[in-house]
């Protein structure tokens, strides 16, 4: 593998580089993540895995274009170095390897990150405001998210899940007035950001980027599963929604109402419930046999319970 990386990175950077032995990092079923240093520069190489995570995700080339656009818009993202069409037989892109914590449970619980948690809500709002200002015409390939698609995804799974169905029914019935669509990150939550003692270092994992209602991104990090055990802190287990939403409103000039947040938090739960099922399908279909993916299918019940709870609160 080292020779392929040596050749690929040298061509990309336009000079013969000295590289360290590439190390395959854990996690990331759809894309491999390789840590490698080239002439002392810390790089992360995302390379296609054997299978796609989900047919609604962007291709690697598209994801790279989104990261580039975000970088140009001043969003805290890893510096993009370039796209490689063929790295040992598969496509890949290269970016800076940021230093910090990405594991959700640690970000939410580690004592050393207490001060960072205090800063994160406002920092997350500031980056999101910048993401939503990325000109959509810069990324013409982004899919347009529609609620109807969620029903199609659920039908593809082919299992009866009345709680998810009830969630979809309520979402169809209670749509808030549509806001102009913006570039959405699509998976904006603790677990997809890099955090150090100072707070937010960078935003990762752009493969779910799409055009959608801005409040969709704003509320996704409030989904209970992304609070990592600290359920009483609605924003990703790190804080209240208040300061986050206020800062976002201040920067964007929008006036996001609490009932809109509630709506999109429920929508986020419905999306993630379907997500657990489609992930389990990858195992069941034989596409990617893994005991983790298999177990995820049963985790759906947790998300469905939360959907029922939110529906009760909404007096459905």
């Amino acid at each position: 593998m080292k020779d392929a990386f040596q050749a690929g990175l040298s061509e990309l950077l336009g000079r013969e580089v000295e590289i360290t032995e590439p190390v395959l990092l854990a996690g990331g079923a759809s894309k491999e993540a390789w840590a490698v240093d080239a002439d002392g520069e810390r790089l992360l190489v995302r390379r296609a895995a054997a299978t796609l995570i989900h047919h609604r995700t962007l291709t690697l080339a598209q994801e790279y274009a989104v990261i580039e656009a975000a970088f140009e818009a001043g969003v805290k993202v890893p510096r993009p170095y370039g796209y490689i069409a063929d790295l040992a037989g598969r496509e890949a892109f290269v970016m800076e390897r940021l230093e910090g914590e990405t594991i959700g449970r640690r970000i939410v619980q580690m004592d050393e990150l207490a001060a960072a948690r205090g800063r994160l809500p406002v920092q997350l709002a500031e980056e999101l405001a910048k993401i939503h200002a990325i000109p959509a015409e810069r990324l013409p390939f982004l899919p347009d998210a529609r609620l109807e698609r969620r029903g199609e995804d659920l039908d593809e799974v082919g299992e009866p899940h009345p709680a998810i169905e009830l969630g979809l029914w309520w979402l169809r019935k209670n749509r808030p007035p549509e806001r102009p669509r913006v570039v959405n990150h699509g998976d904006y939550r603790i677990g997809n950001v890099v955090v150090d003692r100072e707070g937010l270092v960078g935003v990762l994992d752009w493969e779910f980027a799409r055009l959608d209602d801005p409040v969709r991104d704003l509320a996704f990090g409030m989904v209970r599963a992304w609070r990592f055990g600290v359920a009483e802190k609605r924003l990703g287990g790190i804080g209240d929604a208040g300061p986050f939403v206020e800062r976002y409103n201040e920067l964007t000039g929008l006036d996001v109402r609490p009932e809109e947040l509630d709506y999109w938090e429920l929508a986020g739960n419905v999306a993630w419930a379907i997500g657990t099922l489609t992930q389990a399908q990858r195992h069941l279909s034989g596409l990617d046999r893994s005991v983790e993916l298999a177990t995820l299918g049963r985790l759906s019940a947790e998300v469905e319970y939360e959907i029922c709870h939110l529906l009760e609160q909404a007096n459905a």
Partner: protein
């Protein structure tokens, strides 16, 4: 209760993991032997589950079809929630305990 992955499918996934990824790393002869015994035990569980009749989920499918059509009579949410609760008692009982 019809759940995917089914108990059989979960057992299969564990057998594949232990047999395919863990067993080859075991160098201690005694541990290797005990792992083979454990895999055999899981094989028994798998075949026993396989012999059970398949669950009937036609009632659930009917409920889902009705909700999709917008036919949601009062009490539907309560019924659906207690069904999810029953699944959780199997899949994740500690989640239910901690839920406030």
């Amino acid at each position: 209760m019809s759940e995917r992955p089914t108990a059989q499918e979960l057992t299969e996934a564990v057998v594949e993991f232990l047999g395919g990824e863990i067993l080859p790393t075991l160098t201690d002869r005694r541990l290797r032997f005990r792992m083979l015994v454990a895999l055999n035990a899981l094989g028994i569980v798998h075949r026993e589950l396989d012999a059970l009749p398949a669950e009937d989920d036609s009632e659930l499918r009917e409920l889902v079809r009705k909700i999709r059509e917008g036919d949601v009579p009062p009490g539907t949410l309560r019924r659906v929630k207690s069904h999810v609760e029953a699944r959780l008692r199997i899949a994740s009982p500690q989640f239910l305990e901690r839920y406030r």
